[in-house]
């Protein structure tokens, strides 16, 4: 029989790392399983200015690396694996990974969210050939070149500002006539001479022979079609929860966000959820970390009641 952990956490982003920290400080036997890169989405963002205390060296990768070390120091263990199937039916939960099978008394789902595709023609064909979803990963290719950013939220504007350090021009293409991003970000963007705006417009198609050369745009108010020559386009049009795996196992809303109570409990006993994968109004590093802490403490209470009587 394989080892039974107190808590297994699926996902090593800010929510999972914070849950690991709290659980290991409570002396629980805890494992964090991550399929790609510890830190999740936060490891891909260059500027993380709104996490309290992260003033110096506030890049995403630096912050999450500190989170990981801190959890490790208190005894959190880590595994590089992808969970592909879960069985929450019995008191002991079973998680099947690509490499191993894991068993635990409680589970915290912290699988986060993923960028959504913008949906224009050739988006997938030109991915990694000028169409990108990660500014920190690809920005330096575009030094001195022209790029576009699709979106009008915080992520889009933050990443557009970052891209101005490399690109010659950054054109923000937004489907509405005003931005949704925080006022302070908007101000920075409006004052940046490298940033231009195209309002009320969506991208219909990406054109290019092997690599992106231009975007076909459509004005949603006038219907007018135009073409914009760019070398790169960065897409930030929102998120989708990574919850496919849990369909039919825990309750979720119609968009796939997992439903929890204030203690991050799902409708299944012993299964908790935290971070971007949960239905809530603000998806940020701070709320993910907070969820993780709450979930870990609730899981600890659950284990004490259920197994240690």
């Amino acid at each position: 029989m394989s080892h039974i952990y107190d808590i297994v956490i699926i996902g090593g982003g800010p929510a999972g790392l914070s849950a690991g920290l709290y659980a290991s400080r409570a002396k629980l036997d805890v494992l964090v399983i991550e399929k790609e890169k510890f830190g999740g989405q936060a490891a891909t963002t260059a500027e993380l200015e709104n996490y309290p205390g992260s003033i110096e060296n506030c890049t995403g990768p630096a912050l999450v690396e500190r989170m990981r070390k801190q959890a490790e120091e208190f005894g959190t263990t880590f595994s590089k694996d992808e969970i592909v199937e879960v069985d929450f039916f019995d008191d002991i939960k079973i998680l099947k990974g690509r490499k191993e099978e894991y068993r635990s008394k409680a589970v915290i789902i912290a699988t986060g969210a993923e960028y959504r595709l913008a949906g224009f023609k050739n988006e997938i064909e030109l991915r990694g050939r000028g169409v990108s979803y990660c500014a920190t990963c690809d920005a330096d290719f575009f030094e001195g070149l022209d790029v576009a950013v699709i979106g009008g939220g915080d992520s889009a504007i933050t990443e557009a500002l970052y891209l101005t350090k490399f690109a010659e021009t950054v054109t923000i293409i937004h489907r509405r006539d005003s931005l949704r991003a925080a006022k302070s970000l908007q101000e920075k963007a409006f004052n940046n001479p490298k940033i231009k705006f195209i309002w009320d417009t969506v991208v219909e198609e990406a054109k290019g022979d092997e690599i992106l050369e231009s975007l076909v745009l459509r004005n949603v108010k006038t219907g007018e079609i135009s073409e914009l020559a760019v070398n790169g386009v960065f897409v930030f049009v929102g998120l989708e929860p990574k919850s496919e795996l849990f369909k039919g196992k825990v309750e979720m809303d119609d968009r796939g966000y997992i439903l929890t109570d204030r203690n991050m409990k799902t409708n299944v006993e012993g299964v908790f959820a935290a971070g971007d994968v949960v239905q809530k109004s603000l998806r940020q590093v701070i709320t993910a970390a907070a969820d993780g802490a709450v979930a870990a403490v609730a899981a600890e209470e659950y284990i004490n009641e259920k197994f240690n009587k």
């Binding site: 890169k37 490891a43 990768p61 991915r127 990694g128 050939r129 000028g130 990108s132 920190t136 990963c137 690809d138 330096d140 290719f141 030094e143 092997e210 690599i211 992106l212 070398n231 790169g232």
Partner: protein
């Protein structure tokens, strides 16, 4: 692995015809590329007699990378007689097995 750059790319990759050439396009800031690197070196030990292994630092050779139509990292390209025969873009590379599967095809 042979480090190729703007000065030797033509000789070592484009004009090279003895065996297929594999080029690992990476960059200083590409975490995924750096994580894959040791495993790619192991592939060279395994397949090096049939395939020529090269790596190209795009941070130092940006123009060359773009001329080769590489705009995302990591990208892995197989060249046969100086022509691109197969390209793996970043979304197609999850583990080193994806790279190995491409390389194997050129080992006959």
């Amino acid at each position: 692995m042979l480090e190729v750059n703007k000065d030797n790319f033509e000789v070592e990759v484009l004009n090279y015809t003895e065996k297929p050439v594999f080029v690992d396009y990476w960059g200083d800031k590409c975490q995924k590329c750096i994580e894959l690197m040791p495993d790619v070196h192991k592939l060279e030990e395994k397949y090096g007699d049939k395939i020529k292994f090269c790596s190209l630092n795009t941070s130092q050779n940006r123009r060359l990378a773009i001329a080769q139509k590489v705009l995302g990292l990591p990208t892995m390209i197989m060249y046969v007689n100086g022509e691109k025969a197969e390209t793996l873009t970043p979304d197609k590379i999850n583990t080193v097995e994806d790279i190995e599967n491409m390389i194997k095809k050129f080992c006959e």
